[in-house]
Symmetry: C4
Subunit: 284 residues, 4 copies
């Protein structure tokens, strides 16, 4: 674009590929990364299926090593290309990326079984990287504003649901008693949440007429109060839509560059310097 | 209506009956077609009921042949009356209509059993023809606009639901383990979706206190986040209603003619030529 | 109020008590009627409870005769006080009132058991009389308008839900098969409705991995599309509220008089003549 | 603040700590009270868990005595510091506070078991004190207004749900009968509420084809009518938000002082005298 590009060495080029999504190479890298993450999730899932693991153990093992090495290389590349590596290492994504690589290496040291499944599951955390894509799907600022405005009220609502569940759960424990599956208050409260939220597993059900009557009240209550959070979000979002009617969806910056210095990735389209630390951004 | 009508030969008359719904004959044809489709759906359903099939096998067999022959004749008539038959044959409805006729013929060749049920089920696809009726029920443009505006946000939402289900499902697998029915991660994720969506089959339920506690969180979460898609659709539709307040429902064209050349059926009321290809429409 | 009141004989006085609710006597009659209806519903319910019926058979029998005779007297009084008895007899409420009185008399003729329960249940129909009270609870015109405006769209929606259930039910039948409880297509469609509506009984559940995967899609779909009818009603009601902002709730006529001639009961407050047939209303 | 503060003796200082939340000491007291209430709820819950109670019986017993004595001291302090003690004693919170302290003392007199659990559960009532916190979570006046405006309509709706459940429950009882679990009408109505509210325990499920067909109708109905209360709250809240657009959330008074005379706690920020009885408020 201008003389700034002359600064580019292999590190800055690599940075552009890894951290940005608006150049062809950067997009390509992101797509490959996405596929690798989804593949790793599917691998963790399949490995837990006994019958599948018995048949294709070698295939799963090799695939996991491939994924692990890929993730490791990516992790090293991310550290190398960032100007302040420690900031990346101790950032949220830095920790997630690290935790996603170690399970397979640890499996060499500890040959145990169940604890390692938990470790391998850590790789699932990488799905959070996918969340970055949400930006492209048009999640407008309006919805975010509506949810922010609703947060406090929905907290009050959920809090009220929990108190209701505790009180009604205790009442059900006293009415139904241990012989009908309501063995203790925590279990009764669990049943009450199952019922209030209209999930209704049916593993515990009231057997006495009075218990069934109170259960009916709980259900109708649960059915009625769902209207409250829904109404709040609807109203706040309608409000938000009206107030921001002029601001079109296109106002959302699609610039996905992240600063080589402070890792911030909320730059305006066409920005040349980081708006947080003033570090020069790599533009083509 | 004017001299154009002199062009009409039997083909154009048949076209009018089959493809249009605003002449008495066209309406009659549509009603008969609708009844035939519903009858064919009921037949497929009844045939799968063992006790019924044993008793009335002959009746079902003959009825199916009648329906199949009717559908075949209609299919041939549609090909004959359209100017560009291949365009119809490879259109969505063309393929559906074809797939709806073949199962019974194939049953003569293959006398197998289970695979044929699947084939016969293809006839169900014809229900999509009924969807054309939606237009008459007053599904206003406002609702369609609201759903279009909501699409991206609802996709983000469903995507978030699936990621949540994967993460929470894995946690539940680690906590509950195989002895409590959470035999593998895919099954745990399935359980998590069952719970998040408040369906709650109860075929798998948490047994440990910690599992029940996390299940409670999943339920309250599922109960709370239902507010998001509902809020989005409400708000977008309210917005859409307000913006289109002047446009009354009557603006929806009721003209159901479809062009004999390009099959387009979104002409304005009283249109004389196709607005897409300029081909003359058959008006009375 | 004026000379009109001189016309009042015992019939017109009785008419006022029975058909109107804005005089002290009329209100008293309505309250007694309401209590009798609720009592009769509770009696029908209790009678079906074996253990209760065994103990208190005589009490139930006598109570039912009392209620039946009360209802019979009221039915006769309604016929006598109305100017056009046949209009009442063949009106909706007339038929309901008649059906509510006969079961006990028929029980003298037919001493059978199960068929009579069905007959006795007819008395439940009288609950519709309670619906008249809805007017006093502030069910504003806005809500009724919103529901009317939503009717067509909700029909389309429910229609789409049923078609979806038929198609997905058939797919599940083909995948899961008879060995997993999906014994025939109607049962599969029933399962699909149970799942789509997030009821989730759990009497039939998918057992194969593919079945569970499709079930997950059905659940997420059901969870998502609930937003559509909710959004429609919310938006239409918001719209209705906005348009009628000036019309306060007090505009709802509380006049509950019904015309002695044509039974219409939607008169304005203070009306002296029926707005439908011109017949003089009984005012005090 | 001014000469008023000279009036302060130990009683007024204690009053300020106990009844107010806007001084450091008052806040500290509220936080300790909150922790004590939550601890007492957890204790009641844990005590009902057999395995836990067997192991840690002494710990639970001592903890309960500590909590009980704390609550007792607080109760006495509240009585002493209020000018009109009887007004407090017979107020809602006064009764709740009293009931929360007595169970443990009564356990000395009655050494029975089950009845005492019910007594101990009374301590749960103290959770209502937590509700005072709702004010700080931003539950704006708008939401309260919306719920008030919706109350009558939601009552009508719930009433309609119950009548529908009674009628459909009776129909299901007649169709399915005792052999399929619908042993009597109250149980059928219970099943119908379970289904209408989309809870779906699955303890009772229809077995006959006709029963399953009607159950499907009930489910679709329940799925559809959830839109009504949700739509009402959404619309009323949207309406409320629009009308109060100018009034910001900050208008909610955060002054939590309660009058030493009449216990009213809805004073304006900076108020010096009670707006109900004119009694001087304790300000620093």
């Amino acid at each position: 674009m201008n003389s700034n590009t002359e600064h580019k060495n292999w590190r800055s080029k690599l940075h552009e590929i890894i951290y940005e999504a608006d150049t062809p190479k950067g997009k390509g890298f992101d797509v490959i990364l996405l596929i690798a993450i989804i593949a790793s999730i599917i691998l963790v899932m399949l490995e837990s299926v006994k019958s599948f693991d018995d048949k294709y153990h070698n295939f799963l093992n090799i695939s996991e090593w491939v994924i692990t090495i890929l993730f490791s290389l990516e992790y090293i590349a991310r550290i190398v290309t960032v100007k302040k590596p420690f900031k990346y290492i101790f950032s949220f994504y830095g920790i997630v990326d690290f935790l996603a690589t170690i399970p397979k290496y640890l499996s060499l040291i500890f040959a145990g079984t169940h604890a390692l499944v938990a470790l391998r599951a850590l790789r699932l955390l990488r799905v959070f990287r996918i969340l970055k894509l949400a930006r492209y799907l048009g999640a407008s600022q309006n919805l975010v504003n509506a949810l922010k405005a609703s947060k406090a009220k929905i907290s009050v609502f959920l809090f009220a649901v929990i108190i209701t569940a505790i009180i009604l759960g205790t009442i059900m424990y006293l009415i139904e008693g241990e012989e009908n599956g309501f063995t203790n208050i925590p279990k009764s409260v669990y049943w009450c949440i199952v019922t209030l939220t209209t999930v209704g597993f049916g593993d515990i059900t009231p057997q006495t007429p009075i218990g069934q009557f109170i259960a009916s009240l709980v259900m109708v209550l649960g059915y009625g109060i769902i209207a409250v959070p829904t109404g709040i979000v609807s109203a706040e979002y309608t409000h938000s839509l009206k107030n921001n009617d002029n601001s079109s969806e296109e106002d959302i910056p699609l610039n996905s560059q992240s600063c080589g210095n402070c890792l911030d990735d909320t730059h305006k389209d066409g920005a040349q310097f980081c708006h947080k630390c003033g570090y020069q951004l790599y533009n083509e």
